[in-house]
Amino acid sequence: MPRFFSNKRLILLLVGVIVLVALISFSLRDRHNASLPEQIVKDVVGFGQSLFSKPAHYITGIIGNVDGILNTYEENKKLKARLSEYAATQAELADVGEENKQLREIIGKKDNLREFESIHATVIARNPDQWEEKLIIDKGKNHGIEKNMAVVTANGLIGKVVLVTPSTSTVELLTTENQNFRVSAFIPGEEPIYGLIEGYDRLRGELVMKRIDSSYEVEVGEQIISSGLGGIFPKGLPIGEITEVSTDDHGLTKLAYIRPAAQFSMLDHVIIAKRKSATADGIDGGGTAGTEEEEAS
């Protein structure tokens, strides 16, 4: 078929398709470790990107401020109403905190799952084709960030770090459709009730907490916080509030829908929580996800 081979363009297209399919399968296989060229590209593009996104944050900040000023009166009224309540809680908290410290000293317990070091970072980009819920932030390995660290805003947990390069990192949000994204969480109370945040219900816009022991009574309105038992996340990061309780597919455990405490749109500044006590490559991590995939394949 001489005519077919003379068609240079077709050959070029075919070769291109083969190369790209190979590249795609290569990068799909190992998505949580950046190779050296990728790291270089990410750092260079990340630098350029931060030049653009920082002014953008500044402008949205101004708009937010104007919006805030317009709402000041309403907000002030509400806040005043809550102020007295707040003062009482504050006093109680100080008292309880002091007592907690003393008791810890008595039993000689130094490690605390709750303690974490916070690293502030600016969001420089959100994955523009929004199939995956990912953010890119302007802090990386050089600033002490490691894979699987928890990412929070002032309101609560939003996700975890999935990929680190020297000066940027990629954060996967809780609202992802990735089934391997799990967070160990619990409902505080006299008897803490543990479960796993697994998945996000797009239609409801709520997180799903699974594997709650069905012998416990779970009520709507209860707060969910991270348990710190996964090995990487600190304890006590607020996640959300229960809106509905039902039984899961197999009827063995309970399932709860959780309205997230944090907002997932218009994220600009985030905090990376670096746990102070020893960390392990546990459930919260991509490590287990990787092994599961391997087992499955």
């Binding site: 291109g16 398709v17 190369v19 790209l20 399919v21 190979a22 590249l23 795609i24 290569f26 990068s27 799909l28 998505r31 950046a34 060229p37 990728e38 590209v41 990410k42 593009v45 990340g46 350029g48 990107q49 030049l51 653009f52 996104s53 953008a56 949205t60 969001v123 420089i124 980009a125 959100r126 994955n127 523009p128 084709d129 929004q130 199939w131 995956e132 990912k134 890119i136 990929l163 990629t170 459709e177 797009r202 816009g205 749109s265 218009m266 994220l267 600009d268």
Partner: protein, 174 residues
């Protein structure tokens, strides 16, 4: 001079895309609408139609690769889609009258095509589980509306610049 200008505009739009995607998804009336900025491809289609197909395709490969590496972490997806769209644009423009309005329409059709291809890919590798209906209402339509605004402004501006010979481009095919 003209070469650097072409690349510079592409770089600018490349960096602007994720800045605009920070505003997305928009919630309106209890529904979440995802807007995907597709500025780079709008520009590349414009280059493919008015300037040089070859250059547009090369630009498409380079920016597609950067896009893949930095944002998507799946290398090869946009590095393939961008040049493909540029090529289709250059082929299709031979069959239609090259007026600014037809160019705008063609650009919008191609963005829809790109969006559908990327949806197809995302569902094949399991990045998303949304159905076709939801894709249409919550993603394709808002994306098209948002990009239509950009296409109209951008193409009009670029056409003005070409007509006023800032680029020194001849308004003809290669």
């Amino acid at each position: 001079m003209i070469q650097t200008l072409i690349v510079l505009i592409a770089v600018l739009l490349f960096f602007l895309e994720p800045v605009f995607s920070l505003f997305s998804p928009i919630s309106y009336g209890g529904e979440l609408y995802t807007l995907v900025p597709r500025f780079v491809i709008v520009y590349l289609i414009f280059i493919a139609i008015y300037y040089n197909r070859r250059r547009a395709i090369i630009c498409g490969i380079v920016f597609g690769l950067l896009y893949d590496m930095f944002y998507i972490d799946i290398i090869g997806l946009y590095a393939f889609l961008y040049p493909l769209i540029c090529y289709i644009a250059a082929v299709l423009i031979r069959y239609v009258y090259r007026h600014i309005l037809t160019v705008m329409l063609l650009t919008l059709v191609l963005i829809a095509l790109l969006e559908m291809l990327s949806y197809g890919f995302a569902s094949v590798i399991g990045l998303t589980t949304i159905g076709l209906d939801e894709f249409m209402t919550s993603r394709l339509v808002p994306t098209m509306v948002a990009n239509a605004v950009f296409v109209v402004m951008f193409d009009w501006l670029m056409k003005k610049m070409i007509d006023s010979k800032i680029f020194g481009l001849r308004n003809e095919s290669f």
